[in-house]
Symmetry: C2
Subunit: 134 residues, 2 copies
DNA sequence: CAGCATCCGAGATGATACTG
DNA sequence: CAGTATCATCTCGGATGCTG
C-alpha cells in the first residue's frame, strides 16, 4: 500500500476518539436519544422555535405525555435542549434547542426531509419487494 | 378528475408532501428503519462499500445474527439496500446500498459524525445536569 | 398547565439450536 | 457461510390516576 492509499484508508476507518460503531462507545447512546422514535420528532419540532410542553405534544402527533417528558429529560441531560420554567400559577415551561441542539437538528432535518421526499420511491420499492414474495 | 381516474386513485395517487410529524404518515416507519438502533449503524457500515453478512456483523459491533438479518430485510424492502446472493457452496451473499440508500446514508453519516464530534460537550452537559440533581 | 408514579401488554432484543 | 426457528427476557410505550 502506498502512502496515498494509507491516507484514504485512515480516513475511512476513522480512528476518532468516539466511534459509534463500537458497542461500548457512549456516542451510541446519544445517537439513540437523537434518532429515537420521539427524540427525532421532538428535535425537529423544536427547531422551529421554543414551545411549551403541551404545544410540543400537539406538534409531535401521537406522543404520550410520559414519553415526551422522558424524551425531553434525555435531550436536556445531553445538552441539546434547554428547559426554562417560570414559577407562575398556572406553571409555564418553555423548551428550546441549545446551539448544539440546533446543529444536531439541522442535520437530522436534512435526513428527515430527504426521507419524506423519497417516500414515493420507498413505497414503490416495497410493492416490488412484496410482489416477488407471493 | 373523472370517475375512471378516481377509481384507480389508490394506484396512481399523487400525494401531498409526506409529513413525518403526522402520526399516520408512512414516512415515520421508514425513518424508524433508517434511524433505528441497528438500521443507522448498518447503513453507515454499508456506505463504505459492499459487505457480506458476517463482515457486516463484525463491523456493526454487538448486533446479533437475528437483528442484522431483520434490519437488512427492512432496508431491502424500503429500497435502500440491494442483496446479491451467489448460488455457490458455501453461499456468498453481498449487501450494498442502492443509489437512494447512499443518499440516505450520507445524510445519516453527517449526523453521526457530528454527534461523535460533540461527545465531549454532551458528556460535560450530563455531568452538569447530574450534579444539579444531587 | 406541567408534570410524576404505577401498572401492564406488546414488541424489541438476545441466546441457543438447527438447516441448506 | 448465511441464515431461520424458538424461547426467554427485558425495555418501550400507552393508559390511568394523582399532585402542585
Amino acid at each position: 500500500m502506498n502512502s496515498a492509499e494509507e491516507l484514504t484508508a485512515g480516513q475511512n476507518l476513522r480512528h476518532l476518539p468516539y466511534n459509534v460503531f463500537a458497542k461500548t462507545c457512549p456516542s451510541r447512546g446519544t445517537l439513540e436519544h437523537v434518532t429515537g422514535r420521539w427524540g427525532a420528532l421532538t428535535l425537529g419540532a423544536l427547531h422551529e422555535g421554543p414551545f411549551r410542553f403541551n404545544e410540543l405534544r400537539r406538534r409531535v402527533d401521537g406522543v404520550s405525555e410520559k414519553m415526551l417528558s422522558q424524551t425531553l429529560h434525555a435531550l436536556e441531560r445531553d445538552g441539546l435542549v434547554h428547559r426554562e420554567a417560570q414559577p407562575t400559577n398556572p406553571p409555564r415551561v418553555d423548551y428550546e434547542l441549545t446551539p448544539l441542539g440546533h446543529e444536531v437538528a439541522e442535520r437530522l432535518l436534512s435526513l428527515i426531509r430527504f426521507v419524506e421526499g423519497s417516500m414515493d420511491d420507498v413505497l414503490a420499492a416495497r410493492q416490488t419487494y412484496d410482489a416477488c414474495r407471493d
